[in-house]
Symmetry: C2
Subunit: 298 residues, 2 copies
């Protein structure tokens, strides 16, 4: 199936005759939010990684395991959630040796230990095919409200767009070794909170269009302001994807509060604003229409 069909698959999966009263945020965001009987609200996400798309047969198995958990933790970060625990299943290729299998688990466990998000369950099967890792994470909300892609009803043109860290060139290795922006997310929620947020998985431009305000009103993106990795170029920063940085919007006064209070090593850079009239890229004072680009796994 092509990327569009995969989105269709998720829509089929989630289609329901009626909304569920416990489902605060449904499928389609970085994570779902589910209300329990007590005071807890869960944030849930699941991602599958497979050989050929997210890593190769040559990728160090430790890094494959690490990435399978990391992309899920990044989803929690994008929702303003903190991790609780994780589940993992693995479909192992026949003949996958014990040494490599162990390295996969250690890659997951080492990252799980860093974020106090232990693996509490799982399953493993052997099959005719490449390694497939599927991880689900359970998180809880840090504050009263989740930070969604939709944002609040008060979002409007003039709201600023910002991103953590630097973008581009993840294919050189960072797509395996990135740090999920959980710490940054927690600080953003404390200082802001942001109005809408997403993690950059498929490229800045494509993921920007997934923020409802940007898609609905439009945006002006200042290409000269975009923080590009030293080993990448602007095109890569716009569309490589798998940066797993946080892309978010906030009204100007909230953004000022975030920038003034920001005290973490990871940078926060304002790269544009929500603006009427579709997507516009600004470079050296010249404007051009923004294409809905971005990298999609096949």
């Amino acid at each position: 199936m092509a990327a569009d069909d995969e989105l269709t698959f998720l829509r089929w999966l989630a289609r329901s005759d009626r909304p569920h009263d416990r489902l605060v945020v449904p499928i389609g965001d970085d994570g779902a939010v589910w209300r329990l009987d007590g005071e807890d609200r869960l944030v849930l996400a699941a991602d599958a990684l497979c050989e050929g798309s997210h890593f190769t047969a040559d990728t160090a198995p430790h890094l494959v395991g690490r990435k399978a958990l990391a992309v899920n933790l990044s989803d929690l970060a994008a929702m303003g959630a903190r991790p609780q625990c994780a589940l993992a299943t693995a479909a192992l290729p026949r003949g996958f040796d014990g040494e490599r299998a162990r390295a996969v688990t250690e890659g997951m466990r080492d990252l799980a230990a860093v974020w106090d998000c232990p693996l509490v369950g799982g399953d493993t099967v052997t099959h005719d095919g490449g390694l497939v890792l599927s991880v689900s994470v359970v998180g809880t909300l840090m504050t009263g409200e989740p930070i969604t892609r939709t944002g609040s009803s008060v979002a409007r043109p003039g709201d600023l767009i910002a991103v953590t860290g630097r973008l581009g060139g993840s294919g050189g290795g960072r797509h395996l070794t990135f740090t999920p922006r959980l710490r940054e997310s927690a600080r953003l929620v404390e200082l802001g909170p942001p109005d809408a947020m997403i993690d950059v998985s498929d490229g800045l431009l494509l993921d920007l269009y997934r923020l409802d305000t940007a898609a609905r009103f439009g945006f002006r993106l200042d290409l000269d302001a975009i923080p590009v990795h030293d080993d990448a170029d602007l095109d890569g920063a716009l569309s490589d994807g798998e940066d797993f940085e946080l892309l978010f919007t906030a009204p100007a006064d909230v953004m000022t509060r975030i920038l003034d209070g920001w005290d973490l090593e990871t940078s926060v850079t304002v790269i544009g604003e929500i603006a009427t009239g579709g997507g516009v890229l600004v470079r050296d004072g010249r404007e051009e229409p923004a294409p809905p680009l971005g990298f999609r796994h096949e």
Copy 2:
């Protein structure tokens, strides 16, 4: 990897330097139990199904999707938990057509609707290999305590062993169409609760050995009492597996309470007792040692 290696994989995954204070029941049971800040305690399970082991390329995709969720719901039943919601990831074979993919999601969704356990998240990838479905379920405890395989500290010889429904011959189709015993589990908890419980996934004998009391003390199993499906024989009932019935132990007085109060259509049958001296099978009054048999997926 062979079955034993797969268990090793799970142990690697779960190995931690110290127990986690939120992890009430760790990996190794039908589900893990995780304590949240509020009053809720989660029961979490994950299972992966793959072509070749759990279904064939010819299996109706609706039934494949159904089974992927059903085995997880069965895990919740075995813990005395009720379902909240589920996450699903799919690794689809290249060329898997949209019609079949849709049928997979509908199989999951139809069963999810029956048990009010909506699919709230997921992911899908395309790969060189057969269909791999991975489902994680989130449940909550119905009572104060989860029903584990370990059982309580007061479990002892003389405790009775019982099973819901009938066993054997699941390969003829029931492994795809079985009803997760959530209703039965809820009623057992209300009337009992059972001391220890497991769902019969790998065969009665093998799963019986997974109940700590049975493994530690031993058991006497009355082969004449075992409820066998009409299309199966006793050997099948002992070792076919994938029956997904509930196998549980309880002190005699609790078992009497369960049997006296039992008002569901699914039968509950006492099939033996915990007894010192290893595993013993009794048939027509003659005794023989029980082998640790059972079906294991390769």
